[in-house]
Symmetry: C2
Subunit: 147 residues, 2 copies
């Protein structure tokens, strides 16, 4: 049995600047001039697919992904949010949360497609502290609204 975690970069290192985390997952900022607000949510333990997680863990992960989405929408007011869990290169469960604008570099294509224009219109990014606080607030609102 090969220990997959030995060669996994998301097991060895954080994978970016952590803006929020708990025992189960961490929220990283992705610094990309074309995509202010771009975040990743990484499951702390090495699993490959969403369906490898028990339901309770999947729901926790998606509640964090959606809290990041809500936080980015409230802070940056993008035209659209893109969510994706791919993991073809790094098969350790993680989600991309990408604010999109009609005039960004690839719109309306996914950010992995050929660019549609030379560069995105420069936009202010959210400060780390503001993003952290907005994630905490979104998680509290979700849990407060359902308990």
């Amino acid at each position: 049995m090969v220990d997959q975690t030995l060669n996994c970069e998301l097991c060895r290192e954080a994978g970016g600047e952590i803006v929020w985390q708990d025992d189960l997952c961490r929220v990283l900022r992705v610094r990309d001039a074309d995509y202010p607000g771009f975040c990743r949510v990484v499951w702390q333990r090495h699993v490959q697919e969403m369906s490898d997680l028990p339901g309770v863990d999947r729901r926790h992960l998606m509640s964090v992904v959606c809290a990041v989405e809500a936080a980015l929408r409230s802070l940056l007011r993008p035209d659209k949010i893109n969510l994706a869990s791919l993991g073809n290169m790094v098969p350790h469960l993680h989600w991309h949360i990408i604010p999109r604008w009609h005039d960004d570099r690839h719109f309306p294509q996914p950010i992995w497609a050929s660019p549609q224009r030379p560069a995105s219109t420069p936009r202010a990014d959210a400060r780390d502290a503001a993003l952290h606080d907005a994630i905490v607030q979104a998680l509290a609102e979700e849990h407060g609204g359902e308990l």
Copy 2:
């Protein structure tokens, strides 16, 4: 107030062959010779983003997305699953569930990137009835395991 549903193709029509549905969402097959098993899960009502749904609806939608993932894994044994909710062209909440293989047309890139090779190795697709039954079974296992 503009009625967004008038111009929305996923409000006007199913958007593909329905393999399973309930009152809240439908599972469509995407016929793509490079990507056997490719499915979409479409929210029946017009909303744009995951965070526009109340938590209970988000959880339902993700339980169906993950049931489709589990069904495709058991039927087709892909090397990886890709999940994405983009909606840049059709901003009506829907998920792509895409089985991936190491020798498919775009691997390890997302399917929206430039192809890595001329075509995928031909593979058998899942029959509609088998996919339907595997989705029903995956949903039953999820709910049975948690009630």
